[in-house]
């Protein structure tokens, strides 16, 4: 192992070690120091990855520090760090004690860091499933709420079936192409049937991860049941990870023509159903779940173009979506005290009684609705730009109309925050860690919204 290789592997090493360290030394340390360790480790991994040049790694087969990793590891680390910061106060209030929590988050991060580095299907699959494993645990972590366990069960059962589908897909593709290595895999015309069946199954497995219709049904339940910071992490990183997996696969296998129709159907159904089903949701977490169904539909739309622009749009949107949803769920989690604050009516007047958190939530909603000058607009612009460029005019029109309808439920939250009088007492002040996380997320939303140049550049580099 050369020094360069070590440098390249360092983010993975850092997160892995930090996870183990937290798990082992957890009982000896205060929860705040556990959070600090976790945040530091994630930040270190992210920053390191951002400033390391891509290079192959010879010593471990199936791994390489790809340009994609250079973009995604910082992104995942950012999400993990924010999740840890958010969880700190949340867990204290909800009496979720123990070192398992930060350790599991770090494990998830570890797996996520591996994922974009993978150059073969085995590593890819393992990384993806490890991420899911971590989330099975995180979702059901809250023993005080029955919903948490229920959500865990649903997620686990669905996840396991979906994993079987994904694995079957990989198996068929492997059988059809004769290699697990991504770079060597070629679509062999004589095995077209096998490979396309593999793709079909694989796509469905991925549809579960991305919660595309009809594999989306778990999403609202799991978001509702999971602790809010976990929902934040789940709705952002795990989706981006799944999208990244698809990107990697699609990048190596040029997408086959027969996949267009299924993907298009998934995309349209998700955009329409997600946005419509969210319209009258009274539970904000379920609403955000449906919104994420819709957003993943947009993402699928960009994927569908099969063009460089489309893939860039996917990555950009993933990054932006991460910031938006972290802010949204972060605000919800920081406003949850003895009970989860999840009914939209619970947020009445919060915009004035808790200006920072209310403001962040409102900003997140405006951004999710895709209104400038927030990041959501840039993301949406890029998605529809690539869709039009790819000639998906009908899909783009359906998508944009459903996006217009979506503004209704986002604004409903904003209206609830600011435009209704509330007699409820003001929520307790926000802690430092949570405040920091919220500010970071909203700063990202605004900065990307006004000056997306650097991020676009990073995205372009990642696809090189």
């Amino acid at each position: 192992m050369t020094l360069t290789e070590l440098y390249c592997l360092l983010p993975i090493v850092i997160t892995g070690c930090a996870a183990l360290f937290v798990l082992l030394c957890g009982p000896l340390l205060l929860s705040s120091s556990l959070t600090a360790i976790g945040v530091t480790a994630s930040a270190a991994a992210g920053i390191w990855a951002a400033f390391t040049a891509p290079a192959p790694i010879q010593c471990i087969p199936g791994l390489a520090f790809t340009p994609l990793a250079q973009l995604l590891i910082p992104l995942f680390s950012f999400a993990a760090a924010l999740t840890l910061l958010l969880s700190h106060g949340y867990n204290e209030r909800r009496i979720l004690k123990g070192e398992e929590y930060p350790a599991t988050v770090l494990f998830a991060l570890f797996a996520m860091c591996v994922l974009p580095c993978a150059t073969n299907m085995l590593i890819l699959f393992l990384a993806l499933e490890s991420v899911s494993f971590a989330f099975y645990i995180l979702v059901s972590m809250d023993l005080n709420r029955a919903e948490s366990g229920e959500a865990g069960l649903k997620y686990l059962l669905m996840g396991a079936v979906a994993a079987a589908f994904t694995a079957f897909g990989f198996a068929l593709i492997f059988t059809g192409s004769g290699t697990l290595a991504l770079s060597a895999a070629l679509a062999r015309p004589e095995n077209r049937a096998i490979i396309s069946a593999g793709w079909g199954v694989l796509i469905l497995g991925m549809a579960f991860k991305l919660s595309l219709v009809p594999a989306h049904l778990w999403t609202p339940d799991v978001y509702q049941g999971a602790p809010s910071p976990v929902a934040a992490f789940l709705s952002t990183s795990s989706k981006v990870a799944a999208a990244a997996l698809l990107l990697i696969l699609l990048g190596h296998f040029p997408p086959m023509a027969e996949l267009r129709a299924p993907l298009a159907a998934l995309s349209v159904l998700s955009m329409v159903l997600g946005n419509l089903a969210a319209l009258r949701q009274t539970n904000i977490k379920r609403m955000l779940a449906y919104s994420s169904v819709a957003h993943m539909g947009y993402l699928a739309l960009a994927l569908l173009t099969g063009s460089r622009d489309g893939y860039a749009a996917v990555l950009l949107y993933g990054a932006i979506y991460t910031a938006m949803n972290l802010a949204a769920f972060g605000a919800i989690s920081s406003l949850s005290f003895e009970e989860e604050r999840e009914q939209i009516t619970d947020f009445t007047g919060i915009g004035f009684t808790a200006p920072v958190r209310g403001g962040v939530l409102a900003l997140a909603m405006i951004s999710l609705a895709g209104i400038p000058p927030t990041a959501g607009f840039i993301g949406k612009f890029f998605i529809f730009y690539s869709a039009l460029k790819g000639g998906l005019i009908a899909l783009a029109i359906v998508g944009i109309l459903s996006a217009a309808a979506s503004a209704y439920f986002y604004l409903r939250v904003v209206a609830q925050l600011y435009m209704h009088r509330s007699e409820a007492p003001a929520p307790k002040p926000v802690g430092f860690a949570e405040g920091l996380a919220l500010c970071a997320a909203s700063a990202c939303i605004l900065i990307i919204g006004v000056y997306p140049g650097p991020l676009l550049e990073m995205v372009e580099t990642a696809l090189r």
């Binding site: 607009f377 730009y385 944009i400 109309l401 217009a404 209704y408 435009m419 140049g453």
Partner: protein, 494 residues
């Protein structure tokens, strides 16, 4: 000509900075008020500054013809999006108008009781967005401001509104949002088409004008632009957000909506939609004529049925905007200059009326016509101004609206006499509801409460300001019309 001071950027960022500072000072209402007013005034001075410079200056390399102030900075290079601002006569007038109306709005919100700092800060932010819209020469930038305007407005109506503010504000937002998203698709499509044709991907408006758009596609794209602008305008039958929003918004909100936001749509049609798609716009012109004329008459008629003064004025406002649409549809120099003039006049007159209804509402705590009567006897000064603005709105010559309506009608008559005839009918209907409003408020027996406070110095100053403009533009609108001349020649000869 690019001056040393980046006036154009300042015009946009000064109000935004003001918004932030006012927001920071929101704890002290009076400090916030004066600061907001100071920023409003500074913006006005800045907006008028270009009047002093040489506007004929020789054309410079890289500057599109006709723009005497121009700024161009890189922004999002990936898409060729640039921060391009330019000012010609049309935008100059619109910028001054915006600055003026904002001052009026700030003074009119002097007595907002709750969260005044935030309120004023939103007003300034809105001003910044509107100024940006009037100045941007990059289609992406235009769209950005077009949508960004919605956010402050959303809060202004929703938080400080009366009646059913949440319903109204969300309705307003969704309506406009649907239209603008379709416009976004059209913008992107145009951008891609231009890029494919020339190889340079850019959102620069002057460059996009040279795109060759196939006729069928052009119809669709223009349709998307038209839809978006027609909703904001609003044109019949896309207007139903408007009475609710105007009615439920606080005074300054209504003022900004009626006086400025509707103008952004008209501006968009004149600056963007029509020049970009000359063929498609020609083809759809009959449609625009029909909705414009229908709007003028229908809204005037419906206005007559209203009991709520603000709602009546809301309908009156759309009815008058029909003249703008009519002028644009005719797309001849005279008609369009009339439409532009009508935009200015409508902003002043309708704005003034909304301010006055706000004053009446503040005093009598009602906007229902049956609660008024004999106001002339109670508060003659207020009544005097109310009468003036109403007469201006009814198109009495010597006051501002007459001039622009005459120009529009004369211009339109040349091109489409039938449409002009419809609009003439509308002017009778306009008078009918106007005199009804005047009569039920000012005349008749004094209703309870018999004592109303006479205009205060603050209110008086606003009213005098507005009235002076109303009369000035009615008697001597030459300077404003002259400003439109050069840009229109360029726009219409394309």
């Amino acid at each position: 000509m690019t001056s040393l001071i980046p006036i154009l950027s300042l015009l946009i960022f000064l109000p935004l900075v003001g918004a932030l500072l006012v927001f920071a000072l929101r704890q002290s209402a009076s400090a916030a008020r004066w600061l907001a007013l100071a920023f409003g005034a500074a913006e006005f001075v800045l907006a008028c500054a270009p009047l002093a410079i040489d506007r004929q200056g020789t054309a410079q390399v890289g500057v599109p013809t006709g723009f005497f102030l121009y700024q161009d900075h890189g922004w999002i290079d990936r898409f060729g999006i640039r921060f391009t601002l330019g000012m010609d006569g049309i935008s100059l007038v619109m910028v001054i108008l915006t600055a003026f109306i904002t001052i009026v709005a700030i003074i009119a919100s002097w007595k907002v009781k709750e969260r005044q700092g935030l309120y004023l800060s939103l007003l300034l932010a809105l001003q910044g967005a509107v100024q940006g819209l009037f100045l941007s020469l990059d289609l992406f930038l235009f769209y950005l401001f077009w949508e960004a305007m919605l956010i402050p407005m959303l809060f202004l109506i929703g938080v400080w509104g009366t009646g059913r503010p949440v319903y109204s504000t969300i309705k307003f937002f969704l309506y406009t949002f649907v239209g603008s998203l379709l416009m976004l698709l059209a913008i992107i499509a145009l951008y891609l088409m231009h890029g494919a044709q020339t190889g340079s991907y850019t959102f620069a408006l002057p460059a996009l004008m040279h795109t060759t758009v196939p006729y069928q596609l052009g119809l669709w794209l223009f349709g998307a632009f038209l839809l978006s602008f027609a909703i904001k305008f609003p044109l019949f039958p896309l207007h139903t957000w408007q009475p609710d929003a105007y009615c439920d918004a606080p005074v300054a909100g209504t003022l900004m909506l009626a006086s400025l936001l509707s103008k952004t749509a008209a501006y968009g049609l004149i600056r963007i939609a029509y020049p970009l798609f000359p063929e498609a716009s020609r083809a759809l012109t009959p449609l625009v004529y029909v909705v414009a004329v229908l709007g003028i008459c229908y809204f005037a008629w419906v206005a007559f049925a209203q009991r709520d003064m603000k709602r009546m004025l809301a309908y009156s406002s759309v009815s008058h905007m029909g003249f703008v649409a009519l002028g644009i549809a005719a797309w001849s120099p005279v008609a369009v200059s009339g439409a532009l003039m009508q935009m200015v006049n409508h902003a002043i007159t309708t704005g003034a009326l909304f301010v006055m209804v706000g004053m009446l509402d503040e005093r009598a705590e009602s906007r229902d016509l049956s609660d008024f009567g004999g106001v002339w006897g109670k508060v003659p000064v207020l009544a005097f101004f109310f009468l003036i603005f109403n007469m201006a709105s009814a198109g009495v010559p010597g006051l501002n609206n007459f001039v622009s309506e005459l120009i529009v009608l004369v211009g339109v008559f040349k091109v489409a006499p039938a449409a002009a005839l419809g609009a003439f009918l509308g002017s009778v209907l306009t008078l009918i509801y106007t005199v009804r409003l005047v009569q039920e408020v000012l005349f008749g027996k004094e209703s309870k409460p018999t004592v109303l406070a006479e205009v205060s110095l603050r209110e008086g100053s606003v009213l005098v300001l507005l009235a002076v403009v109303v009369v000035y533009l009615g008697v001597h609108p030459g300077p404003v019309l002259d400003l439109f001349k050069a840009p229109l020649e360029l726009l219409l000869n394309k």
